[in-house]
Amino acid sequence: MQELCDQSIGDLNRQLKGQAVAVRDIVSSVVKRIEEVEPTINAFITLEEEVLTGLGPSPKNPLAGIPIAIKDNICTKGLRTTCGSRILSDFVPSYDATVVSLLRRAGAIVLGKTNMDEFGMGSSNEHSYFSVCRNPWNLQYVPGGSSGGSAAAVAAGEATCALGSDTGGSIRLPAAFCGVVGLKPTYGRISRYGLVAFASSLDQIGTVTKDVTDAAILLSHIAAPDPLDSTSVNVEVPNYMRALEKEIKGSRIGVSREHLKKGVSEEVCSSIDDVILTFSKLGCKIVDVSLPHSDYSIPAYYLISTAEASSNLARYDGVRYGCRDPLSIDIEGMYQKTRGSGFGDEVKRRITLGTYCLSHGYYDDYYMKSLRVRRLIKEDFQSAWQHVDAIITPTSPTPAFEIGERTKDPLTMYLSDVFTVSANLAGLPAISIPCGLTSRGLPLGLQIVGRPFDESTILNLAHHYEKSTPWHELRPNLDREN
């Protein structure tokens, strides 16, 4: 029997309903696990103190007693929210993000704030001011980023589920590296109010869970239009739980062969062959699709996201919040020194890159060009939807890499996102689910991308895949000395 901290929301709910366990048992189990493994994994930047006090008898709320971890760029009233940055290392929000309010209202218990690459900028969680988070499957490896702490916490049983944010793969990549389920919903499906902005046209909040059913449960609670976020969209929220069980026979699944070229590891390629076989056996039709501009998605993504970031991060000037360089006596020097010492390497690199591509003389060559390519990428998908219901790719070209392996070479790090950025550029929903283990025992991830606002179809396909494979049941061995 698995310990309570390793179980899914679905399993815990059943036991709570049957009064086989109490809320206190669940929270105690998670707290105990945190005490055991957190010193080595470092999934949290800040833990909520005294989560065990004030727990009443199991209330009727749908998420009652479910311990959840929140990525540290999502505002939590009264609980420090740092974005993994020195510049916000003392920032305490005066309000909850809309998603946090919705979860609290449903009875979820906020455990703390998870480690991340500074302001969401990174694919490995190594760019955190609060030091690296480690992959629970092998402590020498990165958990992926930027929501590395959320994925590591869920994989290690330090939380039942978590929220992350995804600008170019920041939920899906760590979910793949840590063997858990990561869902990035359609742009506009979930309110971004209270999410600290990185690249506003790409950012989306999503979920990290132990299985696909839990992703559907959490999405049902946080998908809602919000007057406080004018980019949230007022469309019907379907019943995701009912969508899971739908028959998938005859579904058309697109595979883009252009994707499976150079730079993709052999083990990743063969895992995708197995996935295709599984879906064929389940009665799905596998269809070749063409996404001719996918080769250009990395440059387009990094130009657009750094341009937006350079503008969004202008607010950190040492005046209204955040740290301030104490020695400057003139305001210009204060701005420059505050930002120079408050931001880490990767953030400074991206602000510089974004400012460059927006600057006079380069604007047309870089920024405008990348916006045109963005349209072509979106149109590639629109044509594909005429032939298929969803598209599958690996989540990442390789499994998790070793800590320190890519930090000296930012371009190689950026290329980790080659399969994930397109969904953000086109605003599409996408999910990563476990689809294998490498010979070294590291998890592999399958990505399923869907039509705009059609989370139901990708959850449905993912759920049936999960039911016919053992991968989501595997848990890392946390006792191993490594």
């Binding site: 420059q336 930002r339 120079g340 510089t352 086109a426």
Partner: protein, 95 residues
């Protein structure tokens, strides 16, 4: 090299970002390589393709102009590095 140290200095100045000379040297090398790679965008024929800055069908969202509760001044100032009465305090701006 598309982005020499000097150019990095100029760009960082626009972003009000102090960089050490070591940072300028490293960023020049790294960003030049990144920009070289990004130049593959210029192999695409983009004539007539309209730029897409946002995927959502954005419209103005209007609401009635009514009084609403907002944060108390003490809450607004709570995270400021320096304050004076009900104001943010900054180094001298005017000579």
């Amino acid at each position: 090299v598309p982005l020499p140290d000097k150019e990095v200095q100029k760009i960082a100045g626009l972003a009000k970002l102090h960089l050490t000379s070591e940072e300028k040297r490293v960023f020049s090398r790294q960003l030049s390589r990144i920009i070289d790679y990004f130049n593959k965008l210029s192999t695409l024929e983009l004539e007539g393709v309209k730029p897409l800055s946002h995927v959502a069908d954005l419209r103005n969202v209007m609401r009635d102009d009514e009084q609403r509760r907002c944060l108390h001044t003490s809450e607004v100032l709570r995270n400021a590095p320096a304050t004076y009465r009900n104001m943010f305090r900054v180094p001298k701006v005017i000579e």
